[in-house]
Amino acid sequence: MRILVGGKGGTGKTLVSGLIVRSLIEGGVEGPILAVDADPDANLGEALGVGVESTLGLVREELLENQRRMGPEVDKRVWLESKIYEIITEGQDFDVLTMGRPEGPGCYCAVNNILRNLLDTLSSSYPFLVIDAEAGLEHLSRRTTGKVDEMVIVTDLSVKGFMTARRIVDLAESLGSRFGKFHLIANRVVNGGGALGALSSRVGIDIHTIIPEDPEVTRADIEGRSVFTLGDESPSYASIRSFVGKEILREESG
């Protein structure tokens, strides 16, 4: 199952992605989860409490810089495959792949073509894939994401956040049937979320889950703690746990 977490930058995509990974693990799913940090401005590895040594972006640059020094017969696909395995941080229940910085000015057609293919193969060997997506929706428009079963869109209480949500839905719909269900999650909701109704009807998407403002998340962030350190009673974790239980694990078992 592929879960893509999108939304405007700064709305808490990385927190939600991390909490989904935690909820899946604690919900007892079988087999490892691959968490993909596809947002150059985020740090999913840190949110999950694992160190990240290198990124796919760096590997791609390494190939472009060194290809002349490689033997002419060296198979770049095989080389890249090995490098991807090398940069994946392996944990007990989940692995983390960090995409890293975006492309430079040169030509990336050839290397991206190989990478797309390799990432497809790689991700199909994990029963669960959680992608913390880039705010700019590059993955969708360039079709680097592949099929997505659950599209989770995170917004805050801003009009911009809701507009981005609308654009994601529109873009996904224009790309056809490769997208399953949409779930809109409103994060950092204060004062009982009085404005939510107006915002959601303005863009025409129903809000699925509400995460109240959570001081523990702010503290964890400042202290550099992972999502695994949030207490079970933390409102953020409680909301996502219930969302994952109802929407993802139930579907998975049914």
Binding site: G71, E73, V74, R77, W79, E90, Q92, C109
Partner: protein
């Protein structure tokens, strides 16, 4: 061991791509965390090989520590009437594929970078010796490649033996690379095409030959061959050479046929090694642009990362419109930096003897490929920055293009049938002096409009 008829694992293509994660591995052989690892295929005389023999030098799997990482070598020796030295690399590449057919065994990378893992589950089910792996490989190689008459494997885990094997393998890879770098267009039966960029330039087809790397610099003839085998329906495909129509320009009937078909009839003829008449088309991915400078009858080159204007007063981006888009522009060629190292580099136009200008950073990078007598004659942005000074400088360094000027009659007149090609005007007509009495001939001109807007008068 010979008595074991059954192997303790399943084999087949379905296990390819099977990933063994760190927490699930019994041991790791080779890989980024150990220093010495290598795999090597060597052809031998039939008498030197004991068919089906599998040797293990050093501790076998059952003697290893769980979770351990070990230096690792794989030596595959083969014999067969049709097996030549040149096939060693091709056969060696298949070790990766066949190892991955084995359930519970993972093999990554190649040459001195191999990285293998044995899964805990597989070990538990009986994959306790590398001999089983060897037996599986013997079986697979002989079934898939009947030209192999005899085959034997040696797995090396003893540290000092791996060190020795590794250094021997490095020498062999080096010699192999040197041979591969010398591969000429004449030595192969097929070239390869690439249409990866057709989403940007629908009429662009790249031809990749041993002496002409793709213009993006990313796909060599070997890469394209590998890609077309992995994914026969993908963007890389073989191009039969057909007849050699023009050896110097590099025109082949096979390339013309395929280009015509894949460019939807847009491009009918292609010269591999010239920027004139029928130059190779480009998408937008080229690493550099070679451009004709009519004032000195020479060729300049500007790489993508060069800031500012080239010697002709145009920036890379201005000329990119001209060179790219899948159309043939007489006098403009998008090309890879690596192509400058080709023995056939623009050979129809005079090769390095025709190159008058090249930014210093690029010149430095390809210096060893520039013929020694030309190294001081190819000028850079540190020598000259505009056309009016270029001529004097070329005379000063005695650049061979100067001889071309003398050959031309001084009073040629405007109507003469130009030997030197006429340049198509760049997208923006930069630098044309007003009232200079120059007559502009738009040969084979095409006018392009992004939009045609029809408006009713008065509205």
């Amino acid at each position: 061991m010979e008595a074991v008829a059954e192997l303790p694992f399943e084999m087949g293509m379905i296990y390819e791509g099977e990933r063994i994660r760190g927490p699930d591995m019994y041991v790791e052989l080779g890989g980024p965390k150990v220093k010495y690892k290598a795999e090597l295929t060597q052809s031998r005389e039939a008498s030197e090989i004991e068919d089906g023999l599998v040797k293990v030098i050093g501790p076998d799997l059952s003697e290893m520590e769980e979770g351990g990482r070990y230096n690792f070598g794989i030596l595959m020796e083969v014999a067969g009437e049709k097996i030549e030295k040149d096939l060693e690399a091709v056969l060696e590449r298949r070790i990766h594929e066949f190892c991955n057919y084995v359930e519970g065994f993972m093999h990554l990378n190649q040459r001195y970078d191999i990285w293998c893992r044995v899964g805990k589950k597989a070990y538990g089910k009986g994959l306790t010796s590398l001999k089983f792996l060897g037996m599986a490989l013997v079986k697979l190689f002989k079934a898939e490649l009947p030209i192999i008459e005899k085959i034997q494997f040696t797995f090396i885990t003893d540290e000092s033996e791996v060190v020795e094997f590794h250094s021997r393998a490095l020498e062999i890879y080096k010699a192999r690379d040197a041979r591969a770098r010398e591969l000429k267009d004449e030595d192969v039966d097929e070239f390869y095409g690439c249409v990866l960029c057709q989403s940007f330039a629908p009429t662009h087809v790249c031809t990749v030959t041993p002496t002409r790397i793709a213009l993006c610099g990313a796909i060599t003839w070997f890469d394209a061959r590998a890609a077309s085998r992995v994914d026969p329906k993908g963007p890389n495909f073989p191009i039969p050479k057909g007849d050699l129509l023009d050896e110097v320009r590099g025109e082949y009937s096979g390339i013309n046929d395929v280009t015509k078909e894949k460019s939807l009839g847009e491009v009918e003829r292609v010269y591999l090694h010239s920027i004139f008449d029928h130059p190779h088309t480009s998408c937008g991915c080229f690493e550099s642009i070679a451009f004709y400078i009519p004032e000195v009858d020479g060729i300049g080159i500007v790489p993508r990362d060069f800031q500012g204007e080239a010697v002709n007063g145009l920036a890379f981006s201005a000329m990119a419109t001209q060179a790219g888009g899948g159309k043939q522009s007489h006098g403009f060629l998008g090309m890879a930096i690596e192509y400058m190292r080709s023995p056939k580099f623009l050979q129809a136009d005079g090769g390095w003897e025709r190159i008058v200008w090249l930014p210093s950073q690029t010149k430095e990078a390809v210096l060893d490929s520039i013929p020694e007598e030309m190294r001081d004659k190819v000028l850079t942005e540190n020598d000259v920055n505009n056309i009016s000074d270029l001529k004097d400088k070329l005379i000063e360094v005695e650049h061979p293009v100067v001889n071309r000027w003398e050959e031309e009659p001084e009073e040629a007149g405007e109507e003469r049938d130009l030997e030197a090609p006429v340049m198509e005007l760049p997208g923006e007509m930069v630098g044309l002096p007003a009232g200079s009495g120059v007559r502009i001939i738009l040969e084979n001109a095409r006018i392009h409009a992004d939009r045609v807007i029809l408006k009713k008068e008065g509205k």
